[in-house]
């Protein structure tokens, strides 16, 4: 198992660390441990009675564990035989993460985001006419401290069978050992965040959600989905109330589309490109600077008649003079302090160092106990030495020029490489910007389609209010548990419209007349249906959604055929999915 990697985890304050220091307790534990150790020195297992007691206790534990294991297995087997699908089955190891599992992220119902100041509270109007009434100081952090500033509320609703399927929220409900499926009068999912951190509702200030339900009857209860225990918990009977007048409904305002994951990813990629371009420049600038730089050879010169000094120079320090055999140093004209007396004085040290014109002249420092004199000196050569040095210089100067040309060519090559890389990044940026625009248009269209669909429903339905007192963020439901359909048994074979057999992982039996979606995934090969009801089938196979509409379903069961034909759902958003399901 790989360890978890946390980036920039918040630091723990010194105060909190100090709070956990408890030296007195440490000493107490130490003393208790010492006493126990002293007692254990009296060999417990030398006591025969204790040994027998331990053996008997061990046997008893083994027997109990064995019995419980066998008993559990037996119970599980019974449940499987009855083919009942309960929420508790989802508690199997490894399935916890998929408890709420939308069949397609693309079709999932998107959240709307609202901001509310915690100190002020407020009333948020969702575009379906639902109101979220938030009292002052309703939100706390995980330590129970009041949140300061704005809180982001993410909210979404589920009204029909398509929403239920798209959400992936389990609609099974167990009561007194019997499994039911919820008929829904609407669900909502509400969450709160500040700066990306989850916030919580203060027990002292629950929020009120006046949920606009499209199902007016008085047959529903309110439930809360406990995602940790993976079950629905009943809250109370849900009594709907009508809107006092039409003006109570908030004006319909097109909500601002939230950024899709694709959009965010593209934006992130675009954001990195200028950094990449800069980095390419940095890398190549370094490479160009690091190109080998040839050293210009020193040009030999003849003496001009000025005084000369013969010095024993270590050429390691002055490589440009290596070729100058028998070099002499001539005192330059600029040395106004030079006089004959200098040459007659006894000096203890003569040090030569680089001069003002590097490679051309040098500083000669002469010292004795009382004086120090500095002169600019020039290297000169005489006779044959000059001729030889001139030839060497010519050769080296040619080499120097060749190396200079090479350096310029290499530098240009690197610059061209850099320009090509930078150009590629600029092209990539243009391409990504085009993709981003396309994605933004798609997201906006999805939002408009969803909005139009919800408004269409709002216009034709007689909405009622269902009031929830929300003291925990999460998923709430106004529902009525219904038994599984009773009637003739169908044993479907699943085929695509091109007669390719499908192997569904999820099977939904959709009651088109009531707002119920039965999950038949665990007994997809054989289940019952009620002949008085209108059904469609929706399946997930190979990661794709397929629908067998009501007409196709009826025609298949009338012919007593097992071959159910499914059309692939090529939906880009939830509105398209609703059309495919004929809702």
């Amino acid at each position: 198992m790989e360890p978890k990697f946390n980036l920039n985890r918040p630091k723990i304050s010194d105060e909190e660390i100090n709070k956990n220091k408890d030296f007195d307790n440490l000493v107490k534990q130490f003393k208790e441990q010492s006493i126990q150790r002293a007692r254990s020195d009296v060999s417990f297992f030398k006591n025969k009675k204790a040994t027998y007691a331990a053996v008997i206790a061990g046997i008893a534990v083994v027997c109990t564990v064995t019995y419980l294991t066998v008993s559990n297995r037996s119970n599980k087997q019974t449940a499987t035989n009855e083919k009942t699908n309960t929420l508790t089955e989802n508690k199997k190891p490894g399935t916890r993460k998929t408890f709420i599992s939308p069949p397609s992220q693309k079709l999932n119902v998107p959240y709307n985001s609202y901001k509310v100041n915690n100190a002020k509270g407020g009333e948020l109007a969702h575009h379906t006419s639902t109101k979220l009434k938030i009292p002052k100081n309703a939100f706390v952090n995980k330590a129970g401290e009041q949140i300061v500033g704005d809180v982001e509320i993410q909210y979404r609703e589920f009204h029909d069978q398509a929403d239920i399927i798209a959400s992936g929220i389990p609609m099974r409900y167990d009561s007194a050992g019997t499994s039911y499926t919820f008929e829904s009068a609407g669900m909502f999912d509400v969450k709160g965040f500040q700066n990306g951190e989850e916030v919580f509702i203060s027990p002292a200030a629950p929020i009120t959600i006046e949920f606009a339900s499209e199902y007016p009857t008085d047959t529903y209860n309110q439930y809360y989905l406990d995602t940790a225990a993976q079950k629905w918990n009943v809250i109370k009977h849900d009594t709907p109330s009508a809107y006092k007048n039409a003006n109570d409904r908030p004006p319909n305002v097109l909500p601002q589309a939230q950024k899709s994951i694709t959009e965010k990813n593209i934006e992130k990629k675009i954001e990195y490109i200028p950094k990449k371009i800069d980095s390419v420049k940095t890398v190549y600038d370094k490479k160009i600077v690091a190109l080998p730089s040839p050293q210009q050879p020193g040009k030999p010169t003849k003496p001009t008649g000025r005084p000369q000094i013969n010095l024993d120079v270590d050429f390691k320090d002055f490589p440009e003079l290596v070729a100058f055999k028998n070099v002499l140093f001539e005192v330059g004209n600029e040395n106004k302090n030079y006089s004959k007396e200098i040459s007659q004085t006894t000096w203890n040290s003569a040090i030569i160092s680089a001069g003002p014109q590097k490679g051309k002249n040098y500083i000669l420092t002469l010292k004795n106990r009382t004086r120090e004199e500095k002169f600019v000196v020039y290297p000169v050569l005489t006779g044959e030495c000059y001729e030889t040095a001139a030839k060497v210089y010519e050769k080296k100067f040619n080499e120097y020029n060749t190396l200079l040309d090479k350096r310029a060519a290499d530098g240009q090559k690197l610059k061209d490489e850099m320009a090509a890389k930078q150009k590629a990044y600029v092209e990539e940026q243009k391409k990504l910007s085009a993709e981003l625009l396309k994605e933004q248009i798609r997201v906006q269209r999805d939002m408009e389609a969803q909005y139009a669909n919800q408004n269409k429903n709002a216009g034709v339905q007689n909405k009622v209010l269902r009031v929830f007192q929300v003291s925990n963020f999460g998923i709430y439901n106004s529902d009525c548990p219904r038994s599984m359909p009773k009637g003739p048994v169908i044993q479907p074979d699943y085929y695509s419209s091109t007669s390719v057999p499908l192997d569904p992982t999820i099977v939904y039996l959709v009651d088109m007349g009531s707002n119920i979606v039965y999950n038949m995934s665990n007994n997809s090969y054989s289940f019952m249906y009620d002949t008085r009801k209108k059904y469609s089938l929706c399946i997930v196979a190979g990661g794709s959604l397929y629908v067998c509409n009501n007409e196709q379903f009826n025609s298949t069961v009338k012919q007593n055929s097992r071959k159910f034909i499914f059309k692939s759902v090529d939906a880009e958003n939830i509105a398209d999915f609703k059309k495919a399901l004929e809702i």
Partner: protein
């Protein structure tokens, strides 16, 4: 929070600390100054390797209890008492991870990861972070320990050597080899 504010000691400080240790050997109540002095450092060391804060506090208490229980076996070797505590802490956290692997976590700042890139002389982009994180997660525990001590806790080699009970030179060689391996992998996803 700096987890290692005062690891290094002068000769006088080491001597004073030695006197406290000798006193604590005779009377556990005298262990207090050492507990106060090193609690934050040890907690920092433990929490750096863990996900869960509460467990980190538990392990820290366990480390000091073990230290107090075994203080009579402690021998002064010319290094701060902290190095002995760190070794106990290391042993405790490793024992926990053997029993409960899900407790192990790696905690770093983006700047720390950037330093690794700088160390191997490669340009750094934030988009490389997931790959680098994955690479670090897959390091053997000993190598991960070195990376944590050096880059995430910013400890000098001398201190790392004392904590791991190896020579300073050995610590440098180990780190060099780890970075060589990392560099090879990193170059696979550079520009």
């Amino acid at each position: 929070m700096s987890f290692n504010p005062r690891y290094h000691h002068t000769a006088t400080q080491l001597h004073d600390e030695q006197l406290i240790i000798e006193a604590a050997k005779l009377n556990p109540e005298r262990f207090g100054p050492l507990y106060d002095k090193y609690y934050k450092q040890i907690f920092g060391y433990v929490y750096q390797r863990m996900e869960d804060k509460d467990s980190a506090f538990d392990i820290t208490s366990q480390v000091f209890l073990k230290a107090l229980t075994n203080i009579n076996r402690y021998e002064y070797k010319g290094v701060p008492f902290a190095s002995w505590l760190f070794r106990i802490a290391h042993s405790e956290v490793m024992q926990l991870f053997r029993d409960q692997k899900n407790k192990r976590a790696i905690n770093a700042d983006v700047g720390d990861l950037k330093n690794i890139y700088e160390e191997v002389q490669e340009p750094f982009f934030e988009e490389y972070l997931p790959a680098l994180q994955q690479m670090i997660k897959q390091l053997p525990e000993d190598d991960l320990q070195m990376i944590e001590l050096r880059f995430f806790e910013h400890r000098p080699f001398k201190e790392i050597a004392e904590i791991l009970n190896i020579t300073e030179n050995n610590a440098k060689v180990r780190m060099y080899r780890i970075l060589e391996r990392l560099k090879k992998t990193i170059t696979n996803f550079k520009i």
